[in-house]
């Protein structure tokens, strides 16, 4: 008996050491995946982890009685905390503010518990070996475990199991050690039955976690953003990701950039002001798409506008821009204004049921990259928009890049013209997007008068810059295209073709 048990305990030193290092590596990798900047993340995690181990070692002196059963309990706890750590971090990641607190909290907790293990083990073993033997054996196994962990983690575990499963696997190993020790030393432990069942239940929990791990890692797309992700959420319609680098916020919908806070003013000023500035009597404004409230922010600058109706498919999107502090700063709380009414509906179905007329209509849909969205760029849709545009009113459509996708841009123009509207196409440069296009449209008997001046405080638009925007150089010049219809959806085809060369 005396020979077998010390050997068992030394093997558990080895397992414990391997597990401990694996948890550290997981925390470091996860932090650099999710927060970016791997040097900073790894060194803070490693530092904190080693420091916490020190705390653990220091605390170990306060454990006096029943050291073996304390050891087993700590093993179980390390297994649970370490095993669930990756999952917990993935799941709470969406909650921006507390992520770092939880991350460092978990790292410290694991460090403290792992730091407790070795001193306790040494005390358990102290009566069974001579001191010099004990120190040599324990540390040998400890460092071999560390070497093994640092080799298999990048070579085997991450490629084959992934972070979350690896965490569970080593959590299971940790608790299995506890269980084996518990069974082997049952005569020396009080409450052995309680410890046995606790470890059995923990193993079951961890095994369950292991098998559900795939659902958790479906968030893996977060690995593809270079900036720090500060918010991510899947709504029934899309995946919303908000990133931040230095002071710049970027919004991605299904991986496509929607705006970048450092230059979105160029886009939104160009979208709204050339039209609305020319309509001194505009009272009712409709915005379709644009759930970020940034176009609405620009529209609210006009005191004559009495009501703004915003129709956006995704409630997840509009409520995010009605509640998140950083985003409220960005859109000036526009979606909370009493002049704004937010409707969450599918644009085509919604507009079919409308009678009320609007003086200014902003159409700010995502680019026509799918047949589903392509429907919102058809003559049938514009026919319906026309029917709710007041006789003297103006509408404006974001129309993708006339530089990258001239055929797509001019197809929108042709399609608007074919429902009997007169168009005013223009474009400007938005650094995050490149050269971008917009098309205003109005009833043919109206004369669009270029605004002589704009509201004070605009950062981009002026009379002079708009003159330039109306001019299309040769590489963006008008091309002849067909009309985009529900039964041909040519725009989607052009768009795919033209952007395929760029992306």
């Amino acid at each position: 008996m005396n020979n077998r048990l010390p050997a068992l305990l030394l093997i558990s030193v080895f397992v414990v050491a391997t597990c401990g290092l694996i948890y550290e590596l997981i925390a470091g990798t996860l932090a650099s995946y999710l927060l970016g900047d791997s040097v900073t993340q790894f060194s803070t995690i490693i530092g904190l982890y080693l420091f916490s181990m020190g705390i653990g070692s220091w605390i170990s002196k306060y454990f006096d009685k029943n050291i073996l059963s304390w050891f087993i309990q700590i093993e179980i706890l390390v297994g649970l905390v370490g095993g669930f750590s990756a999952t917990i971090l993935f799941l709470i990641f969406e909650n921006v503010a507390s992520f770092r607190i939880v991350l460092y909290g978990l790292v410290s907790l694991t460090g403290i518990l792992v730091g407790l293990e070795i001193p306790l083990l040494m005390r358990i073993l102290q009566d069974r070996f001579e001191f010099k033997d004990l120190v040599s054996k324990v540390f040998t196994f400890d460092y071999i475990g560390a070497l093994l962990a640092s080799l298999i983690f990048p070579l085997l575990l991450i490629p084959h199991l992934g972070l979350v499963k690896t965490a569970y696997l080593f959590g299971i190993l940790n608790v299995v050690v506890a269980l084996i020790v518990c069974v082997s030393f049952k005569k020396e432990i009080k409450a052995a039955a309680y410890l046995k069942s606790a470890s059995a239940i923990s193993i079951l929990l961890l095994v369950a976690g292991f098998f559900y791990a795939d659902k958790i890692t479906s968030f893996s797309e977060s690995l593809t953003y270079s900036d720090t992700i500060i918010y991510s959420k899947s709504t029934p319609y899309q995946r919303i990701i908000l990133t931040k680098k230095n002071k710049v916020l970027r919004l991605f919908l299904n991986g496509n950039l929607q705006f970048s806070s450092d230059d979105e003013y160029r886009y939104h000023e160009a979208l709204v002001h050339p039209g609305l500035q020319a309509l001194p009597n505009a009272k009712n404004v409709l915005v379709m798409g644009g759930g970020d409230g940034l176009a609405v922010r620009e529209i609210l600058k006009y005191p004559q506008v009495e009501s703004i109706t915003l129709v956006d498919l995704d409630k997840g999107m509009t409520s995010l821009f009605q509640s998140n502090k950083i985003l409220l700063d960005l859109n000036n709380s526009s979606l909370l204004s009493p002049r704004v009414k937010v409707i969450n509906a599918d644009a085509f179905t919604w507009i079919k049921a409308q009678k009320k007329q609007y003086d200014f209509i902003v159409i700010d849909f995502p680019d026509p990259s799918s047949y589903a969205v392509g429907k919102l760029y058809t003559n049938s849709f514009y026919q319906l928009v026309k029917s709710i545009l007041s006789p003297r009113g103006l509408m404006v459509v974001q129309s993708t890049s006339p530089y990258v996708a001239p055929k797509s841009f001019w197809t929108v123009n042709t399609t608007l013209e074919c429902v009997g509207l007169k168009t005013i196409p223009y474009h400007n440069y938005v650094p995050s997007f490149g050269e971008w296009g917009y098309i205003m449209a109005t009833n043919p008997d109206n004369v669009y008068k270029k605004p002589a001046k704009y509201l004070p405080g605009l950062k981009f638009l002026s009379k002079e810059s708009f003159d330039l925007m109306l001019y299309f150089p040769k590489d963006m010049a008008k091309v002849k295209t067909e009309v985009n219809k529900l039964n041909n959806q040519i725009l989607v085809k052009y768009f795919e073709e033209e952007w395929a060369n760029v992306l």
């Binding site: 599918d346 429907k375 919102l376 058809t378 049938s380 219809k485 529900l486 039964n487 041909n488 959806q489």
Partner: protein
């Protein structure tokens, strides 16, 4: 009848019974076996079909209760499929309002019947029409009436763009990839492509060809086609023989033509006449101001939508769950219809001056017990059975190539593919799809296939359709949330050799005593909306003319 012919009849009958016995027995044994083992597919759903109870009442000649009520009407229309509704519409528009339409089912519509699951309407039978041939003014008038044609532009009809099939329209899974369009191209060897081109060029020529009488060789409705003998002889050979003779051997081409015949007629190229096979390709010349030639019109509920447009204005004339089970004459020479109310189980009689029978001929055979139709051989009329499955899926995995279209077909599979019944939805958000899958049961002669179809259980149908669906979309089983199966025992008339231009149908279209008139797409030999629509009008005109 000679002894010999009776003997051959007897042998044929015995062979038939043997085949039926073997097949249904096999299905029964398979059913017993399935009870013993666990279900292979755990997918919720139901199996249904046209009102079998009423159908059986009609066939089994059981005794009905004594009639309690008696009523009179000038014109009685039996059947509320497209032909019956079309006849009713014509009468009403001609100022004749003294008529009634009887329908044995609880719903209107016949083959244009549609269904609905939790999320969406879907077709159960016919599901599209093409834009009208421009000389078909009667049909164009109807399309204008119901805003399918919104206005005329430069002399051409402008079709309502919410009804023209939304793009993308068709894709074919072939050699591991979804290609756009149904004519095989992807991975097809050059030589075979040349044959396909030659065939398409030949039918293109036939499309514009006119007979000696100045009529188009192939037209919709069939009755407007040329009766030039040199073309009618195409009705005397099978489509397969025609293709053999023309040297069409490409397996891709033959697959495509088989697909086309299965799609429109529920039969293979060997079982339809060459005239019918070519008609599919060469009869449509519809031009529109805002769509391609022969563009397709469709609705989420398929032709159920067209049916509703016909039926809604006729609502007060239609009596559902009213089964006419026999027609006879009164002493004073009026037509007497015995009618059983399937709901109340009451019996009544209706006395009519004239009747338009808008039921398929196999039903008329039973209604007209004792009334002779000279020259009509009911046995010669074959009806192809079909299975229609409406499959609700929560998501649809991609596969290589073209994404989900309206019509999705897989090369060399038993079915004719599936249509996405949500194609005409305007929503940008997609929450799963309802796929309407059509399986013509054409591997056996119709009568055998029909009896086999009737004896299969829901689980046994899944055993038939799921392997194909899994082949088309690996992993589909996991995302299916529901399957509604519908069996059409008599799905559509088969235009077999010598049917369309033969004597049988010609006789069957003839009225009896100028009192009982007939209208149904089976009298054209081709089961499509336009034929039913025109048949109804033809019969209504005959009745009105006879009115004086």
């Amino acid at each position: 009848m000679s002894y010999n012919s009776r003997l051959s009849d007897y042998i044929q009958r015995r062979g038939f019974l043997l085949r039926v016995g073997l097949i249904t027995g096999g299905i029964f044994l398979n059913g017993c076996y399935k009870r013993l083992k666990a279900k292979s597919y755990d997918i919720p759903g139901k199996l249904s079909g046209p009102n079998e109870k009423a159908g059986h009442l009609l066939r089994d000649k059981i005794s009905f209760p004594k009639p309690l009520e008696h009523s009179k009407v000038k014109i009685l229309i039996i059947g509320s499929g497209i032909s019956g509704l079309s006849a009713g519409r014509w009468l009403k528009q001609s100022g004749e309002t003294d008529f009634e339409i009887l329908e044995l089912e609880a719903h209107k519509g016949g083959n244009a019947h549609s269904g609905k699951n939790k999320d969406a309407a879907y077709p159960l039978g016919a599901h599209y029409v093409t834009v009208a041939n421009n000389e078909d003014e009667v049909l164009m008038d109807f399309f204008k009436e119901i805003n399918v044609i919104t206005h005329m532009e430069k002399g051409l009809p402008y079709y309502n763009e919410f009804y023209l099939t939304f793009d993308p329209e068709e894709r074919l899974l072939i050699n591991g990839e979804w290609q756009e369009g149904l004519v095989p191209e992807f991975g097809v060897p050059e030589l075979e492509k040349t044959q396909i081109k030659r065939f398409l060029a030949e039918v293109e020529e036939l499309r514009l060809k006119k007979g000696a009488d100045g009529k188009f060789v192939f037209n919709v409705p069939v009755s407007e086609s040329s009766s030039d003998k040199s073309y009618l002889k195409l009705d005397l050979m099978s489509f397969k023989d025609y293709l053999d003779k023309k040297g069409f051997t490409s397996k891709y081409l033959l697959w495509y033509l088989n697909y086309a015949c299965k799609d429109d007629y529920g039969r293979k190229i060997s079982d339809v006449s060459a005239w019918a096979g070519l008609h599919y390709f060469a009869s449509r010349r519809g031009l529109a101001a805002n769509a391609e030639r022969n563009a397709v019109l469709t609705w989420p509920q398929g032709n159920g939508w067209l049916m509703e447009q016909l039926a809604d204005p006729l609502d007060k004339y239609i009596r559902t769950s009213s089964m006419c089970y026999q027609l006879g004459y009164t002493d004073n020479g009026k037509v007497l219809a015995l009618v059983y109310d399937v709901n109340t189980q009451q019996n009544r009689t209706i006395e009519a001056e004239k009747v338009i029978l808008c039921a398929p001929q196999y039903v008329n055979n039973r209604l007209l017990r004792g009334i002779k139709r000279p020259g009509v051989d009911y046995k010669e009329l074959q009806y192809a059975p079909w299975l229609v499955a409406n499959i609700k899926v929560s998501a649809l995995s991609g596969g290589r190539g073209m994404g989900l279209c309206w019509d999705n077909v897989a090369y060399d599979t038993p079915s004719v593919g599936y249509v996405n019944s949500g194609q005409q939805r305007l929503n940008t958000a997609e929450d799963g799809h309802t796929l309407t899958y059509y399986l013509p049961l054409c591997d056996f002669e119709p009568a055998v296939a029909r009896l086999a179809a009737y004896s299969r259980s829901y689980e046994q149908w899944l055993d038939i359709i799921m392997p194909e669906l899994e082949y088309i979309h690996p992993g589909l089983t996991k995302v299916i949330t529901n399957i509604d199966l519908w069996v059409w025992g008599h799905g559509m008339i088969s235009p077999s050799v010598d049917l369309i231009w033969g004597d049988n149908l010609q006789q069957a279209r003839k009225a009896i005593d100028q009192k009982i008139f007939f209208a149904h797409s089976d009298l054209s030999g081709i089961s499509i909306f336009e034929e039913a629509f025109h048949q109804g009008i033809r019969a209504a005109k005959e009745v009105l003319k006879n009115n004086g």
